[in-house]
């Protein structure tokens, strides 16, 4: 059931423009936007046709090596949409917005987050990194300010003084992370997407997203690992 490359209308273009300026758009916002665009540009609107609408745009973005991609938030399991660049080999999307030094700090922070057990890096650890940058040492105040900007721009998200990758970052950089952190990056055992924040089985080491864990163990008397069947010791969220 292939969708023929339908024509782009102003509604599609408007939707795309807003998605791009938002950086990341949550599912229900995207649905509202879909309706708004169709109404504004007087295009046929069907509330359950968002996926087709997006497919039309994607068929035109494909030759430009861009896509509207859907990702699931690791915090609440909600769908989010972002326009990603498929040809990206590095953190190039960020390259034009930050200095060399800031990019180095980001890359090193990303290392810390991905290599960590729970997908978080403490601000203390990140500030220590800042002190050891190759480009030049970054002062504590400077680093705190840069981290603030990363959070505002939705590359990182902060919880209780610890930092993890924002859903936007994960959607945009999933391919980059999976290929560059091949041996370390975890994939969720349930949905098979990249997992930054995850719960890990104490016996066999597989990881799962918190929303995926929640769904999987719903209605089960005893939480058990889907792979090795050992008791699941982590708190089910």
């Amino acid at each position: 059931n292939t969708v023929m490359a339908a024509q782009m209308t102003d509604a599609h273009r408007r939707f795309l423009q807003v998605l791009m300026s938002n950086g990341i758009t949550e599912g229900s916002e995207a649905r509202k936007l879909h309706q708004h665009c169709c109404e504004t540009d007087k295009v046929y609107y069907a509330h359950d046709k968002l996926d087709d609408f997006i497919s039309t745009i994607n068929s035109h973005l494909q030759p430009l090596f861009m896509q509207i991609r859907k990702g699931i938030s690791e915090d609440d399991g909600r769908a989010h949409y972002a326009v990603v660049n498929l040809a990206e080999t590095e953190v190039t999307k960020m390259a034009s917005d930050y200095t060399e030094m800031e990019l180095e700090l980001f890359r090193k922070t990303m290392d810390l987050i991905i290599l960590s057990e729970n997908g978080f890096a403490s601000s203390t650890d990140i500030l220590n990194l800042a002190d050891q940058l190759k480009t030049r040492k970054m002062k504590k105040k400077e680093a705190e300010q840069v981290l603030k900007v990363f959070v505002e721009d939705k590359w990182l998200s902060e919880k209780n003084g610890e930092y993890t990758l924002h859903t936007r970052c994960i959607i945009e950089m999933e391919q980059y992370i999976l290929s560059n952190y091949q041996d370390v990056a975890r994939k969720c055992n349930i949905c098979h997407s990249l997992a930054i924040q995850s719960q890990v089985c104490e016996s066999c080491g597989i990881g799962m997203h918190l929303p995926c864990v929640r769904k999987y163990f719903r209605g089960q008397a005893e939480p058990r690992c889907p792979k090795c069947n050992e008791f699941w010791y982590c708190d089910t969220p």
Binding site: M8, D10, R13, R14, L16, Q17, V18, M20, S21, N22, L33, H36, T40, D41, I57, H60, L61, P63, L64, F65, M66, N85, A87, K93, S96
Partner: protein, 201 residues
Amino acid sequence: QVSELVQFLLVKDQKKIPIKRADMLKNVIREYRDAYSEIVNKAGKTLQEVFGLQLVEIDSKRHTYILINNLPCAEGKYLCRDEEKEKMGLLLIILSFIFMKGNSVKDSALWEFLHLLRVYPGRQHQVFGDVRKLVTEEFVRQKYLEITPIPLTDPQEFKYQWGPRAEKEISKKDVLNAVAKIQGKDPTFWSSQYSEAEATR
């Protein structure tokens, strides 16, 4: 090449900084110099077709370009982040003032007008921060405003006019209609502004 140029233009324009031909040649087109116009044309068509953005040359001497939004204006709700919306609001007020005053105003007149709105150049504004910087630097850099020194004035005075991006992105007709609505008059009340608004677009 075309897709690379499209992405390059999108990224540059995100910051509303005009794009120079030299940058395009150096960073994207590189060895395909001979096909420059063809590549740029195709990129322009793609930007229009897929994104509803128009590639416009605003300076034919220095070959600088901007991307303008070609979609019919919709109610602002989804258009931009709150901070951007507020800046746009201030900008539109300034542009309206300039247009209604005959397309050019002296800096003293503009700041006097902004005083009435409790916006002061010397003071940090709650929403806009350093207003003087916003108006004289950011809006100018983005080509929304043009500020030129008035010769033979001491102390130096400046005149404020619409910049090339404003000329292309904002409809004088819409501005006049908005002002007319606020003042409860018919747009034809201002005959020279009305004929100018009808003439553009």
